[in-house]
Symmetry: C2
Subunit: 117 residues, 2 copies
DNA sequence: TATTTGATCAACCGATTGGTTGATCATCTA
DNA sequence: TAGATGATCAACCAATCGGTTGATCAAATA
């Protein structure tokens, strides 16, 4: 259980790496929906869609409640926030590196802009 | 070629769904590195690491330059930004939904907090 | 109670993935 | 020029994935 966060992060990223599952996320962003409602526009069997939903649930990206025999799905904002936080961390570092490299280059070849004109 | 963006997004998310590849991203956040340098701390053959790097490159998450026989890798901030933008969009919507639901619930059962005490 | 409906479980299958070993390529260097 | 080095290519393998069909379950309804 020591790498529980790691596998959770794995599952979340992999889950988003499928266009069907991203379409489900997009649909849920307009409000909760049942399995049948989510499956309706997708050219796939209900069981197939159900599997995709389970992947999203195991990744923590969605949660499910119970309403009689229906199982409404909801987006989980907290999980999405964890993903953006992870990516954003490295994004900012990469951007900082790029700016630093840029300043080094302009310091080495200060006439570059003029020459290109 | 109509769904080029879609498959690019697929590849990027799937690429991040592997702890080895995320470790490579983390290493590159401290500056560019060659294949050998990236492979050194990873308990895997050089060919295995090379494959992971190719996955990251095809996903657009890293770029590669040439320095003699070396192929230094660099983080691609632009690709990371596209990912955060995608996730953040739905995250914000989900949070807004949650707040709205919250306000509806407190409006329906205004005495809930008191009863639970 | 019998039937329909929403959803899952189980088994299967082809395609893809993640890793290996062995060979090869291209560049650097003695 | 002859090795040594950085990196990739090719073939293979076990495991996982994405989808199907068929059976089943539990709740709603006639």
């Amino acid at each position: 259980m020591i790498d529980e966060d790691e596998t959770r992060l794995d599952r979340a990223f992999v889950a988003l790496g499928d266009p069907v599952r991203r379409a489900i996320i997009a649909r849920l962003s307009r409000g909760p929906a049942t399995v049948n409602e989510l499956a309706e526009p997708i050219p796939m069997t209900l069981q197939g869609v159900s599997k995709h939903i389970q992947v999203l649930e195991q990744a923590g990206l969605i949660t499910r409640s119970r309403d009689g025999q229906r199982r409404p799905c909801h987006l989980n904002a907290v999980a999405l926030e964890a993903l953006t936080a992870w990516i954003d961390n490295y994004r900012l570092i990469a951007e900082r590196q790029f700016r630093r490299l840029d300043s080094v280059l302009t310091a080495i070849t200060p006439m570059q802009e003029e020459e290109e004109k």
